[in-house]
């Protein structure tokens, strides 16, 4: 069972206080979007073996959403940051690069 630190209230808590919300940094496509863009937005998700960016909500705590950078294999948490972030913060990228020298930031960064 993971432990995560909510960047909104500063609490480090166990996974049962949180709710997982899937992949982070998706771009919403609405009316006018092409079928391809809309399909990508609605259905297509990364499923990496390694570094991943996820949405979490501190559902039993402050109720706020945040993002987490996590290794899906080792479960290492590289860091968490608020959900009001369209791009991956530099300090998180630096931390991951330090721990995973071969890793390349995704295009969304």
């Amino acid at each position: 069972m993971l432990i995560l630190t909510c960047p909104n209230c500063g609490i480090t808590a166990e996974e049962t206080e949180f709710h997982a919300g899937g992949e982070a940094h998706l771009t919403r496509h609405g009316p006018g979007a092409s079928d391809d863009d809309f399909e990508k937005y609605l259905f297509m998700r990364e499923n990496p073996k390694g570094v991943h960016f996820e949405r979490w909500r501190h559902v039993y705590g402050c109720g706020k959403w945040f993002h987490a950078a996590r290794d899906t294999m080792t479960l290492e948490i590289f860091g968490t940051y608020t959900a009001q972030t369209s791009t991956i913060p530099q300090d998180i990228i630096d931390k991951i690069s330090d721990r995973r020298p071969d890793w390349q930031p995704p295009e969304t960064a």
Partner: protein, 1005 residues
């Protein structure tokens, strides 16, 4: 025979004798005994029958690795099967019964299987029972079910209680032997917050049994000193009777505490599950001795050498008058020496090794006059329900008997395996240690924690260190390393204690005894006692092509019993490796999974049983409903009255009465469970326009509007009435099940997509008791309460107003989900019951009756109103339900709009909502499908629609329904065929879904 001797028994309180029963026989023991030691003290070596062949089995071990001595304990609400006698502390009145035998332990019919054993090899079930196919269900399975299983399932509800406890520490030390105590002391002296767990009731592990000197004092007094020092430290929590059950991600550990198992009269929970989050875990879990593989090694009286020593030293129990010791290492000599020093007879030590010179312990044994036979082995053990003799042979040969030695016990030792379970649970890797002939933790591949670094360190014997001095130094160094990584600093004066070194000669790996044992001997050589897996079975598996250890495990059931292969694992792997002609490390090991030792279901459930199994949500009027005949309907965690049944009335009759009364007089509905969410801010209107399919920003303050919400997939997820409170503020009603979900849905969009919009939301669902006053007399009732104008002119349909009724501050919404004149009135929850009472009094001579959810459903169905969850199932879009009028054409965007433009969503063949009316007045079965022409590719009749809601309408005197039907709205008056699951076929005509008052005259008065 096994018996209590006059001396020894360091764990016993001999001044307190206790009585207990075994298979109905009254026996006596002492406080401090385990059930196993007390049974042995009463010469009860035979304790059970094996799983497959029903062979007589005796006690093999003295700890949790025991495979045979499984008991049914207690009775009634305290009955529990499969409890190990070796870990069960004795108490006065304990009741134990052996398992897996019929009719009795001494005489067992199933033992016939052992004569059939050559017909019951590995994989027998798979091979035998597959043909002919029907035999499995009707013949084989019933027979196997009858003969399988160990203990009996409890019949009564568990009478005990259980709980969880969350604890947090820097360093968790699992195991309270010398290594664990030393590690805990070191970590604590560095200032870390330490929890130390020990599974037994005693500190020190097996060191006091093995002896030794630490810093010039006995190891026992060293342990006492450590316990005293740790007990006095503020930053240390020490717990006995708590087993480290499992290690999980990010330093999470489950500890399993026995609270009252040894003291059943005590108050409080029986078990406590510790949910510990540790910065780092030190596993000081010791080691388990391995059996040796020789013919007859399962006959009662054959025991692990260290267990025999434990029973002698800890409990003053001799396991036999004449004990032959058989070994491949030095440690078993300690047993021989201890037995002789206690005045018992050891006719011989059979040592499979051939040593160039005597080891220290060997020399000591010889001094005591014990006969040591080097290079010798057991060819076979003689005896049935008890050992009578051993046939001695050369280890190097094929088992030719050189000599027969009479004895009543055999103490065997095949070396020691570190307890690596907890290290491995969360991914710690193992390395093969050829010198120890065992796997031990690979320090380079520990389990990885949240920070990407290892969070488990093994210490002492669990790390592969066996001499007392090595154990202490390793434990000290391990703890020092751990606290340093955690940022603590060990004071320089805290150093590892030194123990007197005892030189031991290395063991020689022995996986089969004798080395060239014949098939006949191998067929009587057990690897897994509990599951009856023999050396011959593993060899057969290898021969049949099972090269993976995980496959062999499942094929032979090796290590699959409740002891999870604690004794059999290494011997089994070695046997498989031998048969495959491969190295043991290449064969590898099976995966260790938690729990280390079985834990109770009660402990896992914790407090969640009985009244608090799950939360029940209650409205402010819950108790009134209960007192007035409410038949409950679960709606999420809420309980809502389905109907209010009067004495002698059926539920159906009650529902019919409630519908008729509401349509003719008036009814009260507890609508408090409906969600109420405040949405406020300059961008509130814009936000709601995105959430609802229709336009909300154009709603005027004081007015209400019905709205639909969709997911980004386009599917309908909720509906309800929105009231505009003022320019900036809206109140959104949701369905009962939608309150929390829609509140979270709003927060999600506001926090993660439109965080620059100025909107705040608040879920005020439970602030209010909301009561629907419904029916032709509703207005009269409110006028009787008085206090505000509720006339049509003052409060028109789809309007709301704040005011006061009968002295209650309230907000009234003129909305209707029934088609009747209807007011939904919200008051503060704290006065909800009082307001309900006031309405019941005011409505007394107006025919007021409370009504439940089923009446509500019929009222709305008569009006053709859809219900989220009935007409929708997560695949239905508003357009399917003929709700196009509630979808704004003007808006550029709303959640779900783009999805509703997808080709599948605009497909004209999507099933559409219609009304259904049976041709004979009967009621359609819920969920029934309409069938059309032809069959599909599976030769099933083509389906052209389904029933989504169906009721008997007392208003119309017939069955009415709604359904989704292919081209439904274009097929008015067509009669469809609905096959029921009751064998009947129903016929229903497609009609308009609004059955009652289509013009809306009744609600708009």
């Amino acid at each position: 025979m096994s018996t209590r001797i006059a001396t020894g028994g360091r764990l016993l309180n001999k001044s307190n004798a206790v009585s207990f029963s075994f298979n109905g026989k009254q026996l006596r023991g002492y406080e401090g005994d385990t059930l196993a030691s007390a049974l042995l003290a009463n010469d009860q070596m035979l304790v059970g029958r094996s799983f497959k062949y029903h062979r007589p089995r005796g006690i093999v071990a003295a700890g949790p690795e025991e495979p045979n001595a499984l008991m049914n304990l207690g009775r009634g609400g305290q009955f529990e099967p499969n409890q190990r006698a070796t870990t069960t502390e004795l108490f006065d009145g304990l009741q134990a019964a052996s398992q897996n035998h019929w009719p009795s332990l001494e005489f067992d019919v199933g033992a016939i299987n052992k004569h059939l054993s050559r017909f019951l090899p590995a994989g027998f079930y798979y091979k035998m029972f597959i043909h002919p196919r029907p035999f499995w269900k009707h013949v084989y399975e019933p027979i196997i079910r009858h003969s399988a299983g160990l203990g009996k399932a409890p019949k009564e509800k568990d009478a005990d209680s259980y709980e969880h406890f969350h604890a947090f520490c820097d360093v968790l030390v699992i195991g309270g032997g010398v290594a664990g105590l030393e590690a805990a002391r070191t970590a604590a002296r560095a200032g870390a917050k330490v929890i130390l767990l020990e599974q037994t009731a005693h500190w020190g592990g097996r060191a006091p049994v093995d002896g030794g000197m630490v810093e010039g004092a006995s190891v026992a007094s060293h342990i006492d000193g450590l316990v005293r020092e740790l007990s006095a430290m503020e930053n240390v929590q020490m717990r006995t009777r708590v087993m480290g059950a499992g290690v999980y991600d990010h330093g999470y550990v489950l500890g399993y505490e026995h609270l009252t198992d040894h003291a059943p009269a005590a108050q409080g929970p029986r078990h406590r599950l510790w949910r510990i989050r540790a910065g780092h875990i030190i596993t000081a879990t010791g080691a388990i001795e391995r059996p040796l593989s020789f013919a007859g090694n399962d006959i009662p009286g054959v025991m692990l050498a260290a267990a025999a020593r434990d029973y002698l030293v800890n409990f003053g129990v001799s396991v036999g008058d004449r004990t032959v010791v058989v070994t491949n290492n030095d440690d078993a000599y300690r047993t021989a020496i201890a037995l002789v020093e206690a005045g018992l007879n050891v006719p011989a030590i059979l040592d499979a090794r051939v040593l160039p010179e005597d080891s220290v312990l060997m020399a000591r044994a010889k001094e005591l006059g014990i006969r040591v036979l080097m290079g010798h082995a057991v060819s076979s053990v003689k005896g049935g329900k008890r050992v009578t003799a051993v046939n001695v042979c050369s280890q190097a040969g094929e088992g030719a008997v050189l000599e027969t030695i009479e004895c009543d016990a055999v103490a065997m030792s095949g070396g020691w395996s570190p307890v690596v379970h907890l290290w491995s649970h969360c991914g710690g890797k193992l390395v093969w240690d050829a010198a120890l002939a065992t796997f031990r933790p690979d320090v380079n591949h520990p389990p990885i924690g949240a920070d990407g670094h290892g969070f488990v360190t093994a210490a002492g014997a669990a790390a592969g260190f066996f001499g007392l001095d090595d154990i202490l130094h390793d434990a000290h160094a391990a703890a020092d390393g751990v606290v340093t990584t955690l940022g603590f600093k060990l004071p320089v004066d805290v150093v590892s204690p030194n123990a007197a070194r005892q030189e031991e000669t290395p063991l020689a790996p022995v996986w089969m005894m004798p080395h060239g044992a014949s098939v006949k001997l191998r067929e009587k050589t057990w690897l897994d006692y509990q599951n009856d897996v023999k050396v011959s079975d593993v060899r057969l598996a290898a021969q049949e092509g099972f090269v993976s250890v995980e496959h062999t495990k499942r094929y032979t059931t090796l290590g699959m019993a409740t002891d999870q292969g604690k004794l059999s694992n290494i011997n089994g792997l070695a046997t498989l490796a031998g048969a495959l002609d491969a190295d043991i490390p290449t064969v590898g090991t099976t995966t260790f999974r938690p729990p280390y030792h079985p834990i109770s279901m009660g402990a896992i459930g914790g407090e969640a049983r009985g009244d608090v199994f799950q939360p029940l949500r209650r409205t402010p009027m819950h108790e009134w409903h209960a007192a007035n005949g409410a038949e409950w309907e679960p709606v999420g965690h809420w309980r809502r009255p389905y109907s209010y049944n009067r004495p002698g009335e059926t539920t159906h009759d009650a529902v019919m009465r409630e519908v008729t009364n509401t349509r003719t007089n008036m009814g009260l509905l507890d609508a408090s469970t409906l969600g109420k969410i405040i949405v406020k801010g300059p961008d509130a209107g814009k936000f709601l326009d995105m959430l609802y399919t229709n336009m909300m920003s154009s709603l005027k303050p004081g007015k209400c509007r019905y709205g639909l919400m969709c997911s980004e997939n386009g599917f309908l997820i909720d509906d309800g009435v929105v009231a505009r409170v003022d320019d900036d503020t809206f109140l959104c009603h949701t369905t009962t099940g939608g309150a929390d979900r829609i509140h979270q849905h709003m927060e999600e969009w506001l926090q993660t997509e439109w965080w620059d919009w100025n909107v705040y939301v608040a879920n005020v669902t439970e602030q209010y008791a909301q009561i629907a006053v419904v029916g032709p007399n509703a207005r009269k009732c409110l006028e009787k309460l008085g206090g505000m104008d509720v006339s049509k002119d003052a409060l028109g349909f789809m309007e709301w107003v704040d005011g006061e009724l009968g002295g209650f501050k309230c907000r009234i919404y003129r909305i209707s989900f029934s088609g009747e004149l209807s007011y939904e009135i919200a008051v503060d929850a704290g006065v909800g019951q009082a307001f309900w009472d006031a309405l019941m009094v005011a409505g007394n001579d107006l025919g007021v009756m409370p009504y439940g959810t089923e009446c509500l459903h019929i009222l709305r169905a008569e009006k053709g109103f859809i219900m989220i969850g009935d007409e929708t199932d997560g695949t239905v879009i508003p357009q399917d339900l003929g709700l196009n009028w509630a979808i704004s054409k003007k808006k550029e965007d709303y959640l779900g709009k783009r999805a509703q433009e997808r080709s599948h969503m605009v497909d004209p063949t999507r099933w559409k909502l219609v009304g259904l009316e049976t041709t004979d007045g009967s009621t359609l079965p819920d969920g029934a499908y309409a069938v059309g022409e032809g069959v599909n590719e599976n030769n099933q009749r083509n389906m052209i629609g389904r029933v989504t809601s169906t009721y008997h309408s007392p208003t119309l005197g017939k069955g009415i329904a709604m359904g989704l039907v292919l081209n439904g709205p274009d097929r008015m008056n067509e009669v469809l065929e609905f096959p029921g699951t009751d064998g009947k076929t129903y016929h229903a005509k497609i009609v308009d879904p609004v059955f009652y008052d289509k013009e809306g005259e009744k609600q708009n008065v």
